[in-house]
Symmetry: C2
Subunit: 137 residues, 2 copies
DNA sequence: TTAAGAACAGGAACTATTCCTATTTTCTGT
DNA sequence: ACAGAAAATAGGAATAGTTCCTGTTCTTAA
């Protein structure tokens, strides 16, 4: 059996290290800026390709529903996200902060057409920076 | 007091009528195709501008988290959405099909930084068309 | 060692959406 | 009804996040 081994090139390693070193859920070009300090000749295409690769390998998360740009997250333990409606900052919520309960009887009709496989839940709010700005300005 | 009156131009009226005549949650250029049959000279910019206007006036919904394109929905009664992971089709679920319960104690820590104002919940699944295609092909 | 495959840098292409501008339509006060 | 002001429109250019392409370099496995 051909083992689909994980190939960790220097570029992939450094992308992963940088992502693991932040809690800011950076966009692709924020990752680009972080990685370029250590690999000045890396290309943005390599950033995108390898973020996709690492996500496909199950090593990082890809948040494609938050804001207008994709964001990436190296923490794989189950948790929820909250996004500031003013500045777009993304924060973490503990996994048990909220739960989604589904009423089967109400789903039955929908299940005739759609087979439900999962869901996406995200929270919206205002971060502390934007709240203080709002009070002063 | 200056009353901010609702301006319903012919273009806006027809966009609204077409959107109210479908349950397909169309994208902007699908609305464009629908409206162009009745207004052959309308521009895509007018479609976008007026879909934004109608959304700002609270007359339609704008689904910006589903798939890679915005989708629009004229049914304003509260309901949830389910999106086919194969073809991107969007369907409705009754509002009481699912509920999100939030554990206040788990939120307290997060509330110190983020003030939570709302949330977004959407379901993922496979539509019946894609299920039959999968079985045959 | 060598051939095949994978990943790379750099930059072009793609595309959904927004922006710009000259023209037309609608509104408001007289 | 009329004139001036404000808003909306058509058409097309610009923007920007992401993907794709190409020639080159690196890695892996006989
Ligand atoms: Mn996170
Ligand atoms: Mn709907
Ligand atoms: Zn903020
Ligand atoms: Zn489908």
């Amino acid at each position: 059996m051909p083992t689909t081994c994980l190939r960790l090139t220097p570029q992939r390693n450094i992308i992963l290290e940088e992502l693991r070193g932040t809690r800011s859920h950076p966009t692709a070009d924020e990752v680009y800026d972080m990685v370029r300090r250590r690999l000045p000749h890396i290309s943005l295409g390599t950033i995108y390709r390898n973020l996709d690769y690492l996500h496909a390998q199950g090593l990082i998360r890809k948040l494609d529903k938050i804001g207008s740009q994709m964001r990436f997250d190296a923490s794989m333990d189950p948790h929820l996200h909250i996004c500031c409606m003013e500045c777009g900052k993304v924060g973490d919520l503990p996994e048990d902060a909220a739960s989604v309960s589904v009423r089967q009887e109400a789903m039955l009709d929908a299940e005739k057409t759609f087979q439900i496989t999962g869901h996406w839940l995200e929270f919206h709010g205002v971060c502390s920076d934007c709240r203080t700005k709002g009070k002063i300005g």
